[in-house]
Symmetry: C2
């Protein structure tokens, strides 16, 4: 049976046994069973427990061997000294894929390692492959199947795959991703990697159609060269974004004592990542900012960024962040300066960042020549795009001080007809912007502090579908663009 077929049992099982399922919510066996029960559409779901007739209303079986019909996948949540016996039963039952939550094995010392090895040998000899032990579960949003405790809120379907070498930190990763609105394809906490290694999951995600960006938390790899080979083959078409600890001596020491993996020199990892086109990031927020950017933003051809801002301070901060993170603040072509001279008052700085010095509603007119400029590969727009500030202000004022006013529009000195005309104009501008982005293949990133509250708005989705992402700080926009530019350079060089 091929590795990919084993993975099919693990991620797309038709029948699932949870061995150690429990009603006591302080036990893992309850959390795991509850996850499978609540989130999945697995029809053949069997709790295995020899002490109680039912778990959460579902009939139990004393042993997996008592289950009528086949079982594709087993989640094992029993004390460590029972695992070997359970694995033997799974093999006897013909289970092809399993996941062992149980801790207390390889990570505890020589005795645990010996027992763990026996478990691996037994499973492999019996044609079963497994995740873990000492892991936090996995999930697949394609069939809403999850063994991760409390995974419900993180099961938002999408195209970001996650592989984590730490269990506890994986929960943190998923939590942050969910808060950021990221949609996931598959997730796995690899645990001790006694049988299946990080590299196996990596290879599986590499060919998984639902996973368009692979993200990972790495402490140390067991099969570096294999990882490198897979990465070199796929990063050009399927980007890989990684948080790897061990940048410092203290981090490396901690990783060594945490995972049995050879942590290796961070410099070697760093060089390997660069050569393979892997995007290395510093923290989880950046991990998902970049992953989402890769999914939605068109690739910039180079690192020369144009900055369009309604205020000088934002221009300074954005320019500073851009250069610090590896972008180049573009030099405007004479033609662009000429075009902007016709729009902006004499006091505009005549350089990039293009500061509209608070001069009326000129964002779009200024944006067109910038997108046409051959010296510019991408544009960060601070303010004025998609009328977002206006919408927010209107909403806020309507709620706040002037809720007793009959016609909220009058507070802007505008009639409803004027507002409608303005919105019509905005639609036309956006249509032109989408067309320009397609024509010139230049990403446009923008900033709105309140983006968290906008993510369910149709406008946000429209912008995202057309390649425009919104960030709550200008620094985050610059950071994503810097990573994308670097990745784009790699892809172009291949």
């Amino acid at each position: 049976m091929s590795l990919m077929e084993h993975f099919k049992s693990i991620f797309y099982p038709e029948s699932v046994a949870v061995i150690g399922a429990s009603n006591s919510m302080d036990k893992w066996g309850a959390g795991v069973f509850s996850s499978v029960l609540r989130t999945s559409n697995i029809k053949k779901l069997y709790p295995v427990n020899n002490k109680t007739p039912e778990v959460m209303g579902v009939k139990t079986y004393p042993s997996i061997l008592d289950i009528p019909g086949p079982v594709d996948f087993a989640a094992i949540v029993v004390p460590y000294n029972y695992v070997l016996g359970i694995v033997k039963e799974c093999v006897a039952k013909g289970v092809k894929g399993a996941l062992v939550i149980t801790a207390g094995l390889g990570e505890t010392g020589a005795e645990g390692a010996r027992l763990q090895k026996e478990i691996v040998d037994t499973a492999r000899a019996g044609g079963m492959r497994f995740v873990g032990p000492n892991c936090m579960g996995h999930f697949n949003t394609a069939n809403s199947f999850s063994t991760a405790r409390g995974g419900g809120e993180t099961l938002r379907k999408g195209n970001v795959g996650v592989i984590s070498q730490s269990g506890g930190f994986a929960a943190h990763i998923l939590q942050i991703g969910a808060e950021m609105g990221v949609g996931f394809s598959k997730f796995v906490s690899t645990g001790n990697e006694a049988d299946l290694h990080f590299e196996d999951f990596f290879e599986y995600y590499a060919q998984d159609k639902d996973t368009k960006v692979i993200t990972a938390y790495i402490e140390g790899l067991r099969e570096g060269p294999r990882f490198f080979d897979i990465a070199r083959k796929i990063t050009k078409t399927k980007p890989v974004v990684i948080v790897k600890v061990g940048r410092t001596n203290a981090g490396t020491r901690a990783a060594k004592s945490h995972t049995a993996a050879i942590a290796g020199s961070d410099h070697v990892y760093d060089a390997m990542f660069k050569q393979a086109g892997i995007i290395r990031v510093d923290d989880v927020e950046e991990l998902f900012d970049v992953a989402s950017g890769l999914l939605h933003i068109p690739m910039p051809r180079g690192k020369r960024v144009g900055i369009l801002t309604f205020g000088g301070g934002f221009g300074c901060v954005t320019a500073d962040a851009s250069e610090r993170l590896g972008l180049e603040v573009a030099q405007l072509s004479p033609h662009t300066i000429e075009a902007l001279n016709k729009i902006l008052p004499e006091r505009w700085p005549h350089a990039n960042p293009v500061d509209t010095v608070g001069y009326g509603d000129v964002t779009y007119p200024c944006l067109w020549p910038m997108l046409e400029d051959d010296n510019i590969d991408s544009v960060i727009v601070i303010g004025g795009l998609a009328n977002m500030g206006m919408r927010r202000r209107r909403e806020k004022l309507t709620k706040d001080a002037f809720q007793d006013q009959d016609d909220p529009s009058s507070m802007f000195g505008m009639t409803l007809d004027m507002m409608k005309a303005r919105e019509e104009k905005e639609k036309q501008n956006l249509a032109k912007l989408y067309e320009y982005m397609r024509k010139y293949k230049k990403p446009v990133l923008t900033f709105d502090r309140h983006v968290e509250h906008m993510k369910d708005e149709p406008l946000y989705k429209e912008l995202q579908e057309n390649g425009i992402m919104i960030y709550p700080t200008p620094e985050r926009a610059a950071r994503v663009l810097a990573r994308l530019s670097e990745y784009s350079r790699y892809v172009q060089s291949k």
Copy 2:
């Protein structure tokens, strides 16, 4: 009249005129007047407008000269070509302090600069000092007085003073601070600094009792040596935290074109900041993380951090971040290792980070020897402190899956009595922790992803009052601690 007396008129006026007050919400004159009206307890508030008999229900005066009785402070929100005439009237009225919102003066070129100079000369000759022009207002929470548009939500009283050289970016700064729960003392957007300079506000904040930490956004200083002198005198007792743009060439160029200030070499600034004990930070989030830390967390004596974690991944990430940011991951003393051996199972890593390898409820027992250890100056605790995870899980479970259950406590296999006993134990542990922190003078920082939702809880406030701050990522805890350690080293060297 001394500078400080002028500042008294600006921040603590008894009577205020808003010249250019308006009912049209799309005009600055409406926003500013509405702010003063809504937020302040200034009893003598006069809108000045010669075209309408009342603004927002308050009787107007055609000119400031028509106001009966004295006026301490004037906010000027009229088109640029009227400012000089208005300033003459203010002087005639005996106004001692003013703030000019109006743009279109010094920042627009030679002609505007000439007019601006005449305005400054007129004001100074008449005994009036002013903020701006081209600024976004100011506020003082001591008397709830604000000229900043829409400043209501940011007027949370506290001890952080803000001085910003950018207006638009200042709104962003205040917004982020408000979201982070920061309490402010005073705020000012300095604008063109035609009359009052950054250094004047700095000197004023230096002696202001409500301001315990000074934060600032700087593009370029007009009086570097004076700034340096003030800073050297105060930073030892009143810390100063600064975001300064111009780290890169692009940022410096942008700052030069935005403010008339001499931006100067960033290296010179950096050296000056270091010599004067100023804490330089990279972005606004860090600005307020550090400012809040300075207000609440006891100063660490050195940079050797102990890390106590329930999971290895968090330990790696925290160790990595700590060293990268300038802390040192402490070496445990043999005595501490011995003490921890008695608490933790054999497989614990026997080193810092102290990973409790998921072994029960041992956070406090492990924390005591770490706080006693002379090799450790501070501790970051990941999980287990103040029972936060438990509280959250209980709340979540109670809401989610098990809301139909009669006794929510039973889901943990605990009776209510057991839970009460547990909470009593927690109280005792916290009391001991506060005592330890006082005795050993070592800060304890902790992590909870959900801290944003905890800020109104009594527990959060209790922890904060006792010097324990909670951060939503381990990296942010490490960053604050790194800045505090550096500052502490400076203070000790003086």
